[in-house]
């Protein structure tokens, strides 16, 4: 099981969210973490925005991995959001973004958290997976795809595809 799979509960997948901007998106993500995990929405919102200010978390190809540190958080938590319409994200290829994996980590981030980020980057560099995520019919199917993905195992990845 990948590191990413462990931190994404099925309830943290939002499909075809209607937002008009990065700001609205972070508000909705804050709401999700507040409802599902009891983390204050403004804490999430501020943390994501603060990180974005140092440089965009856009990876290109319509994907971004916004992340932030949260005081008092014990274990890393993830959420996946697919947007109905892409929003500007200041990504390196200047393309707007519609697939996002949001990652919250404890204030004292460790090597493991860096690994998660690099796993995410690797995951989203997989074009077949990106296409599958963009077209998955429902949240459950999408969650399955992410959980089934294996890092550095091209054979398996193809088998799933």
């Amino acid at each position: 099981m990948s590191l990413v799979a462990k931190l994404l509960p099925p309830a943290n997948v939002l499909l075809d969210l209607q937002v008009s901007s990065k700001k609205r998106l972070f508000e909705q993500v804050g709401l999700l973490f507040e409802n599902n995990h009891g983390i204050g929405r403004s804490l999430v919102f501020d943390s994501l925005f603060a990180r974005e200010r140092l440089g965009s978390t856009g990876l290109g190809q319509g994907v971004a991995i916004p992340h932030g540190r949260i005081k008092g958080l014990k274990d890393a938590l993830g959420a996946f959001v697919r947007l109905a319409q892409p929003v500007p994200f200041d990504a390196p290829d200047a393309k707007p973004v519609n697939l996002l994996f949001v990652l919250l980590v404890p204030e004292q981030a460790t090597e493991k958290h860096l690994q998660i980020l690099s796993e995410l980057a690797q995951m989203f560099s997989d074009r077949a997976l990106r296409d599958a995520l963009a077209t998955a019919a429902d949240a459950e199917a999408l969650h399955q795809r992410i959980v089934a993905w294996q890092p550095d195992a091209a054979g398996q990845r193809q088998a799933v595809a």
Binding site: S20, K23, E27, L54, S56, G58
Partner: protein, 457 residues
């Protein structure tokens, strides 16, 4: 970035102009349709007519999607309320307001954590006062700017015949002042930028920008021109907000005369000043200037709210023998016409003020931005994060960093210590780096360099 600017006055318009060229999504709100039309004719931006502190107007301006609110209407109260609404009703992540009144500026209940949710307040009158006070302290400089909490200064000086470095190549400055580390970051010659390298010869008339630790600035300037007598006597024309602040800031150390035409304002002024002499009269009145020994003034500063008045009175003062004259001029075309002619220094209030604002709009961890040469050039202080992998600056020597043409890394502040940047200076995480850019258009590329990659945690 989506930015909403409230108020299309001098500051609002200058900020809008400066941001539009950087591919942001800008909406300007003002009660006066004519002012908005003028802006819209010149720039690609959206405008909304209405009261800037009304929720419906803010909504129409798209505040739901805004990353930044800049409240710079004429009214402090409107600006404060707009920030409060933006934070509480619309969750706008960053809010900047222009606040003039000291009663607000000094009050923790207004600007503190439980106040009006203003992240940054700017007071143009205060910024201008500091600007002019620097010119009094350094009579040789055209402009003095601080970075890293005042540890590093950037100074613009005109090179004059007789300065030890004039006619000499830049690299010799180390031999001239061996104990002082300085960098000449740019030279402007007949309105064009010259990118200085070690062999560039400094010519008389050049406008030279030098970076040095704040304590060393005087010696550096001394290499470029003969030093003036220190300032003793200052005459200020105009007893408005700026005139009063300036007189208060200077009266302890200098002999200050303040000219104001309104008699009642004069009474108000004298009640608030201890040593400065308040004179009732017109600053363009030759007789008054003569009577008050204008010929013995080291500095004449015209800060009335009228451009023409400031221009005429400072021209007159110069002709009557004032050593150096400074005029506040709002209109951009006038500033360009007059700078370095008869008027020694023409200050554009909007240009001088927007630096602090610009720092908030930049991408990356930018602490300070100063707009120079009437907005054409910029100097920026950014904090470096990450490592060699996640940032294209960190862990690299200055010569390895791929700066766009016209950009120079001038200095680095590390743990409070100032290091002048040389080709082999290595940049580390948490350094404050000061970059000078001769052409503002390359600034987005500089900002990109300092940003961390997506995988930085």
């Amino acid at each position: 970035m989506k930015v909403i600017i409230l108020g299309a006055g001098q500051v609002g318009a200058t900020v809008a102009e400066s941001l539009v060229s950087e591919q942001n999504d800008i909406t300007v709100v003002d009660v006066e349709p004519a002012r908005l039309r003028a802006l819209q004719d010149r720039f690609d931006l959206r405008t909304v007519t209405g009261s800037a502190s009304h929720p419906a107007v803010l909504e129409e301006a798209g505040i739901d999607d805004a990353d930044l609110l800049i409240a710079v209407t004429q009214s402090d109260e409107t600006n404060l309320v707009a920030c409060k609404l933006a934070a509480r009703m619309f969750n706008v992540p960053r809010r900047v307001a222009r606040i003039r009144a000291n009663a607000f500026l000094d009050n923790k209940l207004v600007l503190g954590p439980d106040g009006f949710d203003v992240d940054l307040s700017i007071c143009p009158e205060q910024v201008l006062t500091e600007y002019i006070v620097k010119l009094v302290e350094f009579p040789e400089a055209l402009q003095v700017l601080d970075f890293a909490d005042g540890k590093v200064s950037l100074v613009a000086v005109r090179a004059y015949q007789g300065g030890p470095m004039v006619g000499r190549p830049v690299k010799e400055i180390r031999a001239h002042i061996p104990n002082i580390d300085t960098r000449i970051v740019a030279i402007f010659r007949r309105d064009g930028a010259v990118m200085p390298d070690g062999d560039t010869i400094i010519e008389a008339g050049d406008e030279v920008f030098c970076l040095a630790a704040a304590d060393n600035i005087r010696q550096v300037m001394h290499e470029l021109r003969r030093m003036d007598q220190p300032v003793k006597r200052v005459m200020i024309a105009g007893g408005g907000n700026i005139g009063l602040r300036l007189a208060r800031a200077l009266e302890g150390q200098y002999s200050v005369r303040l000219i104001e035409h309104n008699k009642r304002r004069c009474e108000f002024l004298s009640a608030r000043l201890n040593q400065a002499l308040v004179l009732n009269g017109d600053a363009t009145d030759e007789e008054l200037l003569e009577q008050e020994n204008i010929g013995e003034m080291d500095l004449f500063v015209a800060v009335t709210n009228d451009d023409e008045n400031n221009i005429m009175s400072s021209l007159l003062a110069k002709r009557m023998g004032a050593r150096r004259v400074v005029a506040l001029i709002n209109r951009r075309s006038y500033v360009d016409l007059l700078q370095s002619g008869q008027i020694d220094i023409a200050i554009s209030p909007a240009q001088a003020t927007i630096g602090k604002l610009l720092a908030h709009v930049r991408r990356g961890d930018v602490v300070a931005v100063h707009s120079l040469r009437r907005g054409a050039a910029e100097a920026l202080e950014a904090v470096v994060h990450g490592d060699r992998e996640s940032c294209r600056v960190t862990g690299r020597s200055v010569e390895e960093i791929e700066l766009p043409a016209g950009a120079t890394i001038g200095a680095v502040v590390r743990n409070g210590k100032v290091l002048m940047a040389h080709h082999d200076t290595r940049i580390e995480a948490e350094d404050h780096v000061i970059v000078f850019v001769t052409d503002k258009k390359t600034m987005p590329r500089v900002e990109k360099l300092f940003q961390v990659g997506a995988r930085f945690l």
